[in-house]
Symmetry: C2
Subunit: 345 residues, 2 copies
């Protein structure tokens, strides 16, 4: 039975150190009795972050039984699946069991299947049983429960898309949703790392919004990525160049388009692509860094070092309705849906 309201950010669940937020906490209270502004979920599957999953595999010598022990040990110690070595978490899929009285106005009902869109590093979790470990997908089927705080975002899984496809999209939902907010008609939009999961969704949103006077430029490196992009038919220009070589990128872009980008979206999952993003953007333009490989200082000092007056945005993984926007992309675009069904599942 729900007790009093907790902190919307879950501070009431932090056991140590006191005063920290759940993500930074060493240990959470994972008692599966909800406060009236929490949601209790019966968890079916954990999507372990790939860095964390690989570390666990290594530590266990690839032995599944030992992997299960390590995972149980993490949760027993911390009250959450927060890998102490990699510092990373993942997300979960499950079915809503109970909704706190303070959250009854939400469009969510007991029995709904949801995916958490906040990290396991801040999610109170109990694992009763580890049923199966899928080494190929870093998914782990369990019997267990988790708690979402009132600030904790989630998505109700759609009926019309395969679960794995939906999850692949939800994992990067912030990117297309932010692209939708940033692109203006007439813009030249450059997507770096356009052949990847987040990049290809951004291409779709950019193409929809630039209109006939704008153009979408896709940049990636290697024949496979370039062919994948061409097959989508979303980019007006496709450039094959190494994003860690800023001057090459600048020259190739300028050679192909005769101008620089109004908006550059960086979706590259390798480090040291900040300068290419900055140099390829016009003075007064905007760079959106969605890649987690972005270095804050490399971007800040890099722009200063070349005297480039660009607005640089940190890719917030969340923006309002991001799950809705990202899932809709696959409904609008059969080719992207096929790509996600074939490659990113």
């Amino acid at each position: 039975m729900p007790v009093a309201s907790g902190c919307p950010y879950g501070m009431h669940r932090v056991l140590e150190p006191k005063g920290s937020l759940p993500q930074g906490a060493q240990r959470l209270d994972n008692t599966m009795e909800i406060y009236d502004n929490e949601i209790l979920v019966d968890v079916e599957t954990l999507n372990i972050d790939s860095a964390s999953f690989n570390q666990i595999r290594q530590q266990a010598g690839d032995d599944e039984r030992r992997m299960a022990e390590i995972m149980l040990e993490i949760v027993a110690t911390r009250g959450k699946h927060h890998n102490p070595v990699t510092g990373s978490g993942g997300m979960f899929i499950g079915r809503v069991r109970e909704i706190g009285s303070a959250l009854q106005s939400r469009e969510l009902k007991v029995g709904d299947r949801i995916a958490s869109l906040v990290s396991l590093t801040l999610t109170p979790l109990v694992i009763k049983e580890i049923k199966r470990i899928h080494k190929d997908t870093a998914q782990v089927d369990i019997a267990g429960q988790a708690i979402l705080f009132s600030s904790g975002i989630y998505a109700v899984l759609p009926q019309d898309l395969p679960e794995k496809v939906a999850l692949a999209v939800l994992d990067v939902a912030g990117a297309p949703a932010q692209t939708a907010k940033l692109v203006k008609p007439g813009d030249t939009v450059l997507v770096i790392g356009a052949g990847g999961k987040s990049g290809s969704l951004c291409l779709h949103e950019a193409k929809k919004r630039v209109g006939p006077a704008g153009q979408v430029v896709a940049m990636d490196y290697g024949e496979a990525a370039v062919n994948r992009i061409k097959g989508l038919g979303l980019a007006d220009v496709v450039l094959n160049v190494d994003a860690t070589k800023p001057i090459d990128c600048l020259q190739v872009l300028h050679g192909a388009c005769g101008k620089l980008a109004d908006l550059t979206i960086n979706c590259v999952n390798i480090p040291q692509t900040e300068m290419a993003s900055i140099l390829c953007t016009r003075d007064g333009g905007t760079v959106y860094f969605f890649s987690m490989a972005t270095s804050f200082t490399a971007a800040a000092l890099g722009a200063e070092g070349v005297g480039k007056d660009v607005t640089m945005l940190i890719g917030n993984g969340y923006t309002k309705n991001h799950a809705l926007i990202a899932l809709e992309v696959l409904r609008e675009n059969p080719k992207l849906r096929q790509l996600f069904s074939e490659i990113y599942v």
Copy 2:
């Protein structure tokens, strides 16, 4: 005599590795003969980055002669004062000796005293003699020369401000200039780390722009900082709270103002203040991270973790006319000018 045009970003000066930009280069060509889009400067003083200066002091056992040897060795090896241990540089002060023909239209003339606003890590430099090492200020008087590329930003030193005061302001010029661009009338603007160098300049720009319907909230930690802020008379509300404790900050701000900030400017020079900045900003608001201690992933994942839809900006050290804007603050505000003369020189 000037030779042909070089790359605006100085790629033509990179000896190794080929294809990298000057900042990332191991070694630059520091031949003091300019290309027609370069500027040659007789250098008087190097302002060594404090991390670099301290490392050199330590390595030299605080011996000035040995420090000089280390500095000469760095420049002999790399063609720039790019400390191989700390990775950092600094800036220089000098007098313009020659302006390439392609840059003659600039408002700059031979003989002008300038401060470089790009890092020594990307600046071709020759040191002929080290004259004096100022251990208290990390300044080193030299005889030498340096080259600015056409993208290299600099400021002509003002006649009406003491040089050290001007330098202290120029060091953080991006912060007040960006604040000037971001603040809108009626805004509630929160400056975190408001008692410091960049923070106090931001307070001035914010106060000028919020108008009677807006308010400026200053946050810092400790009596000294708080009293300094109160003495300036620029903040409508002054809060004494530890910015590494996000929930404390949120509660103190909400208690004092009854609402969250439309714009939060983070000028704190210590790590782990991202969450306080995010939590103190309203949904749909903006966080401007000027602090080099900002972690990209802490900000990106942190906002997602609490489901906060805020625009997060990476503090570009450069924006158009930033030196002009920042120096003007001290002319407009005698109290700030006094503060800078007393404390930050």
